[in-house]
């Protein structure tokens, strides 16, 4: 069966830095595909290229049976592909509820004319949007703060808000850029459960994460990037025992002279610390 997302030979260089160098992988609906790799491996760049934030210099992206390479982000959202951001991008001037209401933008329709004239159809749609957004907030335990400005939320709540916003429109696939970075153990656990619930509802998730425990626990498939290239792929167990993956993750720590610097730059634990 054709996978929901198919990425072929994605490449993008920033000046001399090959952030992505011929990366290919698939991600299925109703499954969690983790993408891991040391800091600077190109994970965020991959998400940016797939989601339409960047245009890849080479390679192709197929989503839901059609080629979407270079398609603008808002068009992809309408096809059911959305994302979250590593550096939080909540709409801080909007209320929490309104943030999630924007999450329903891709699946609603009332435009400028009906807004200006305040047509009944528009008001009906607004009510439906608000209800659905509220339900999405309840799903993630944010209903109590629905009317607070999003800028006032704690870091952990903002992370949850981003997920609620991305899932509100029931997309086919969400690209998640480090959803639990900086969260404590309890928050991480809750977020992990929310991800699993979404997957069980049939949403395809691409999970970029440095939290290996979480990745190994909930992923169906793991793709490993290093210096812009895919170095391994398989189920969590296979990847954990892959010699090349071990070398990439552990190699840096064994560096004798400059162990601290190499470890800080490369290790997953250090990655978390940097984002905390």
């Amino acid at each position: 069966m054709e996978p929901l997302l198919r990425v072929e030979g994605l490449s993008l260089a920033f000046g001399g830095v090959k952030a992505l160098d011929g990366v290919s992988f698939n991600a299925r609906a109703g499954a969690i595909t983790a993408m891991i790799g040391p800091n600077g491996a190109g994970k965020t760049t991959a998400i940016n290229c797939i989601s339409g934030a960047y245009r890849p210099q080479a390679g192709r992206v197929f989503f839901a049976g059609r080629e979407v390479t270079g398609l603008a982000a808002h068009r992809l959202a309408r096809l059911g592909l959305t994302r979250t951001f590593q550096n939080l991008q909540v709409f801080s001037q909007l209320s929490v509820l309104e943030n999630v209401m924007v999450g329903l933008h891709a699946v609603t329709h009332q435009g400028f004319a009906s807004a200006i004239l305040r047509l009944p159809a528009m008001r009906r749609e607004e009510r439906a949007i608000a209800e659905q957004a509220m339900a999405a907030l309840e799903d993630l335990g944010l209903a109590a703060v629905a009317h607070r400005p999003a800028g006032q939320l704690s870091y952990g709540d903002r992370k949850r808000l981003e997920l609620a916003r991305a899932l509100a429109a029931r997309p086919q696939m969400v690209l998640l850029d480090e959803p639990v970075a900086g969260l404590n153990a309890a928050e991480t656990d809750a977020m992990g459960q929310a991800l699993v619930r979404a997957r069980d509802l049939g949403v395809g998730l691409v999970l970029v994460e440095h939290d290996m425990a979480l990745v190994m626990k909930i992923s169906d498939q793991v793709v490993v990037l290093s210096f812009g290239q895919k170095i391994a792929q398989g189920d969590p167990l296979q990847v954990q025992n892959d010699p090349q993956v071990l070398a990439t993750y552990l190699g840096g720590r064994q560096e004798p002279v400059n162990g601290f610097a190499a470890g800080a730059g490369r290790g997953p634990a250090a990655g978390e610390a940097a984002h905390a």
Partner: protein, 294 residues
């Protein structure tokens, strides 16, 4: 006059105004690179240069070199004041607000200039006696040479400053990544102050060069400032080479356009070019496209 003579006439006047646009464009780039804002008061630095020079020469009777140096100093001080007294004090860090602080400063400065120097155009003498020179059939004054010569010297000086001096390198570091620069022990706030002072000084120089040709007045910088902006965009906003190329290119285009078509719409050419560039090649002629990092 033959066609060729006319052409060289246009080229010379185009290069002269182009050099001034380049200086203004450099001022825009300097401030943009360190603060990411467009400084609308850049043109007013130019007005100030001409007006100060007028007062120091005609009013105080100073010798030209001294008046020149004092004017550079004066406009650099006003640039520094804009940073220290206005932008630094702002409660909001929103770019829109910061840009509008420079717009407000521009309006305010213009009001002050009007009170101090009045509304009339003031004649500033040329830097040397106005014996017409001839080259390839074109007639021009020594002031044209001064404009081009001093502009070249200023560009060379900037190049030396940014590549050879510690302060210059520190300013470049701040432009590339302020956070990292601060971690390296660079005093970022001081570098911002320097870039405004430098931009003010450059504007002052541009004003002194052009006002013997155009006369000085409190509004002279408005249009020239905007054209300098157009030149900066044309070259690729933020690129120093681009500013120079864009300035000269715009000056030539304008003078040829006005000469060959109609001089009534001379001022329009720069802005039509600006809109076209934004439409077709927003990264400018020399700039590299860069996506916003998310």
């Amino acid at each position: 006059m033959s066609g060729a003579e006319q052409l060289s006439q246009y080229l010379i006047s185009g290069l002269t105004t182009g050099a001034v646009y380049a200086l203004v464009a450099l001022g825009f780039c300097l401030i943009y690179n360190t603060t990411h804002i467009v400084n609308f008061a850049q043109g007013d630095f130019l007005s100030l240069g001409g007006l100060l020079l007028y007062s120091l020469l005609a009013g105080a009777g100073l010798a030209l070199p001294l008046a020149f140096a004092l004017t550079v100093l004066g406009s650099a001080l006003v640039g520094a004041a804009l940073e220290r007294l206005a932008l630094r004090q702002a409660r909001s860090r929103e770019v829109t607000v910061l840009i509008f602080i420079t717009v407000a400063a521009s309006v305010f400065l213009r009001g002050v200039f009007k009170e101090v120097w009045g509304k009339q155009a003031l004649a500033v003498p040329s830097f040397s006696p106005e014996t017409p020179l001839r080259l390839l059939g074109a007639t021009f004054t020594p002031q044209n040479l001064w404009v081009v010569g001093i502009t070249l010297a200023a560009i060379a000086g900037l190049g030396w400053f940014f590549n050879r001096t510690l302060t210059g390198k520190a300013m470049r570091a701040v432009a590339i990544n302020p956070r990292a620069a601060a971690l390296m022990g660079i005093d970022v706030e001081r570098m911002l102050l320097y870039s405004f002072a430098l931009a003010g000084g450059l504007g002052g120089v541009a004003g002194m060069l052009i006002t013997p040709i155009t006369t000085a007045s409190y509004t002279i910088g408005v249009i020239i400032g905007l054209k300098g902006f157009a030149a900066a965009v044309l070259g690729g906003y933020g690129s120093f080479m681009g500013a120079v190329v864009g300035g000269l290119g715009l000056g030539l285009l304008e003078s040829l356009g006005a000469g060959l078509m109609s001089s009534a719409y001379k001022d329009v050419i720069a802005f039509v070019v600006l809109l076209l560039v934004l439409f077709l090649r927003p990264q400018g002629l020399l700039g590299r496209g860069e996506a916003a990092r998310v």
